[in-house]
């Protein structure tokens, strides 16, 4: 039978087919491309321009950069506190939540007792409103809550004003909340990656006497590297957006604000520079400064991730 794909077609027909294909591609891609041009290209250009404009007059100025610098180098400055807290949240995500998610996924993959139920329950924080989780957590760690009772057994007491009304404990408590609710989607992603590993590989390793630790570290971990490296790249992409639900817990009080929250507060009008209408210029300026810091970091991380070859199977 003649292969239809190899049959030479008249030039006119090829042109008509190509024309149809081009029209189809234009119709399919026009709207998403326009959206991208507006919401990525124009938006970022405008944001850069805003960084160099005076809030009231719109005139060209470096004053926003001066303000950001002052806030950054002053130990009690908003941005200084915000950036320190942001780094705490990022480190928690990278050094605690990510590895623990990997471990949890491993035990699910190894079909620990009731693993299907655990997998669904562990995903609950992603589906329930943060308001519900925050309220429940606040009652957990309240001075008369269950955590206080447990701490009393070990001789610790929670201060009467609570953990969120003290600068020394507020951020750490929110970090614990983030760990409590932080595993959901990562466990699913790693679980999905592990499920694709050919069982025969692990079975043969098992027959050769491979224990659980070696199995995880020397087999599973390299085999799911594509997913892990993607997660690491995405984590670093959100480096300066790392935060907890500050708005719901403390509204930025008690030195809990992060860069993300600080930006929200300036835009929403409740921040120091926001006034009643919000200060887009200072926000754009801060964003531009930290984007310039973040770009080389993410490029380096991507380069680093690409050094480790992904295993094909």
């Amino acid at each position: 039978m003649e292969n239809l794909m190899e049959r030479p077609m008249p030039k006119k027909r090829i042109t008509a087919a190509k024309k149809k294909e081009t029209i189809f591609l234009f119709l399919m891609l026009a709207l998403p491309v326009v959206q991208w041009l507006i919401y990525f290209f124009y938006l970022n250009i405008d944001s850069i321009l805003l960084a160099f404009q005076d809030k009231r007059t719109g005139a060209f100025t470096f004053q926003n950069f001066q303000l950001v610098w002052e806030q950054l180098v002053d130990p009690r400055g908003d941005i200084n506190i915000a950036i320190k807290n942001t780094m705490i949240y990022f480190s928690t995500d990278f050094l605690i939540i990510l590895p623990l998610s990997l471990l949890m996924s491993y035990f699910f993959y190894k079909k620990i007792l009731f693993y299907k139920g655990f997998r669904v329950i562990f995903y609950l924080p992603a589906i329930v409103s943060a308001m519900v989780m925050v309220e429940s957590f606040a009652s957990f760690v309240a001075p008369n809550g269950p955590v206080a009772t447990v701490l009393e057994w070990f001789g610790y007491t929670i201060p009467p004003q609570g953990l969120f009304a003290d600068s020394d404990t507020a951020t750490n408590t929110i970090v614990i909340y983030c760990i409590w609710t932080g595993f959901c989607s990562k466990v699913l992603l790693f679980g999905g990656a592990m499920a694709r590993i050919p069982v025969e590989l692990l079975e043969s390793a098992r027959l050769d006497g491979c224990g659980p630790f070696r199995e995880l570290w020397q087999m599973i971990f390299p085999l799911i590297w594509a997913t892990t490296s993607t997660q690491i790249v995405l984590l670093f992409t959100g480096l300066f957006n790392s935060s907890g639900p500050i708005l719901l817990f403390t509204n930025g009080a008690y030195d809990t604000q992060t860069l993300n929250y600080w930006i929200f507060a300036q835009i929403y009008g409740s921040g120091k520079y926001g006034g009643n209408t919000g200060n887009y210029n200072i926000v754009s300026c801060t964003g531009l400064c930290f984007t310039l810091v973040g770009v080389p970091v993410i490029l380096f991380i991507r380069w680093l991730m690409d050094r480790v070859p992904a295993v094909e199977y």
């Binding site: 491309v33 990525f40 139920g117 609950l124 308001m131 957590f137 999905g192 992409t237 930006i263």
Partner: protein, 313 residues
């Protein structure tokens, strides 16, 4: 057919019983036992918010405060006040910028519209771009793919000011249709998932359609899209959960059209001072119930289809 099924189930059973991966020696049994205990405790803490919220929503306001002070928030209500739910619908309200009160039913309507538009926009745009870039070779394809990866991995922050300004310029600020345009992003996480999915569907299906006289549109809508249904459904469910619980976007961009999430957050700022927490929790239950129902129905779909591969660009 019956015999085949019988054989399959026998093979599955045999594999389950005989797989060396599920056999554990003594030290592994201890390890898995300890991990199971940790998982069980963690799971209980995650279920706690639901029980806490449900029981609190049925208590009297004084009873709730008494239980909170006594640290017995999980005690059963003295009287099961289902009337709190009716009170939530008729009593919980916030005022829009004209001073007109907006009640829970209207917030529910706003939530439905906001969520539906977000799901449609985000998934539809990604389906269009994902399909075209996966299946067609055209001049700017490489540029578009590179731009998609670039915009995903470059850590741009602080554009919310420019975004708010843009919403004003486009005339979509403070309208119910706000999410339609910003969510119509064809180059994000959803794009990567659908790009991967469409890449794996053989092009021979399209060739068969072309031979039968069908066009590119027929191929996409009648052949390819139905085949990508598992991935699209998963993305729709994830978009539903995120949009339904998102309180920040409606708070900032559509203040006069509060959704349940943003409305209840705003109510909490004033409502709790009157001490009627149980009615507030009833409102939260109303807001949470649809997500729980959707998750209960589709948790299997989410668990099976939630995977992401490498991010090489």
């Amino acid at each position: 057919m019956k015999n085949e099924k019988k054989n399959n189930s026998f093979l599955k059973k045999f594999r389950k019983e005989e797989s060396i991966l599920t056999q554990r020696n003594k030290s592994e049994k201890i390890l898995f036992g300890v991990v199971f205990v940790f998982f069980a405790i963690y799971a209980v803490t995650l279920v706690f918010p639901f029980i806490f919220m449900f029981l609190s929503s049925l208590k009297g306001s004084l009873e709730y405060v008494d239980d909170l002070v006594a640290g017995t928030v999980l005690s059963l209500p003295d009287n099961w006040l289902f009337s709190n739910y009716a009170d939530a619908f008729t009593g919980m309200s916030i005022k829009n910028s004209w001073g007109v009160p907006i009640y829970l039913p209207e917030m529910l309507f706003n939530s439905i519209v906001y969520t539906a538009l977000t799901i449609f926009s985000s998934v539809a745009a990604s389906a269009l771009t994902g399909y075209c870039l996966a299946k067609y070779r055209f001049k700017i394809r490489g540029f578009m793919y590179g731009a998609a990866i670039f915009s995903m991995t470059i850590p741009i922050i602080g554009t919310s000011g420019a975004s708010l300004k843009l919403a004003h310029t486009l005339g979509i600020y403070n309208t119910l249709f706000y999410p339609l345009l910003p969510s119509f992003s064809g180059f994000g996480f959803n794009f990567l998932i659908l790009y991967g999915f469409f890449s794996n569907i053989p092009w021979s299906y399209a060739e068969a359609v072309f031979i039968d006289g069908g066009g590119h549109g027929t191929t996409f809508f009648k052949i390819m899209l139905p085949q990508a249904w598992p991935a699209i459904l998963t993305l729709c469910i994830m978009a539903f959960i995120n949009a339904w619980n998102n309180y920040l976007t409606p708070l900032m961009y559509m203040p006069d059209y509060p959704t349940l999430a943003s409305g209840i957050y705003r109510i909490e700022l004033t409502f709790t001072r009157k001490g009627n927490y149980p009615v507030y929790y009833a409102g939260l239950m109303v807001a949470t119930l649809p997500v729980i129902v959707v998750f209960a129905c589709f948790s299997d779909v989410i668990m099976k289809n939630f995977t992401v591969g490498g991010l090489k660009g």
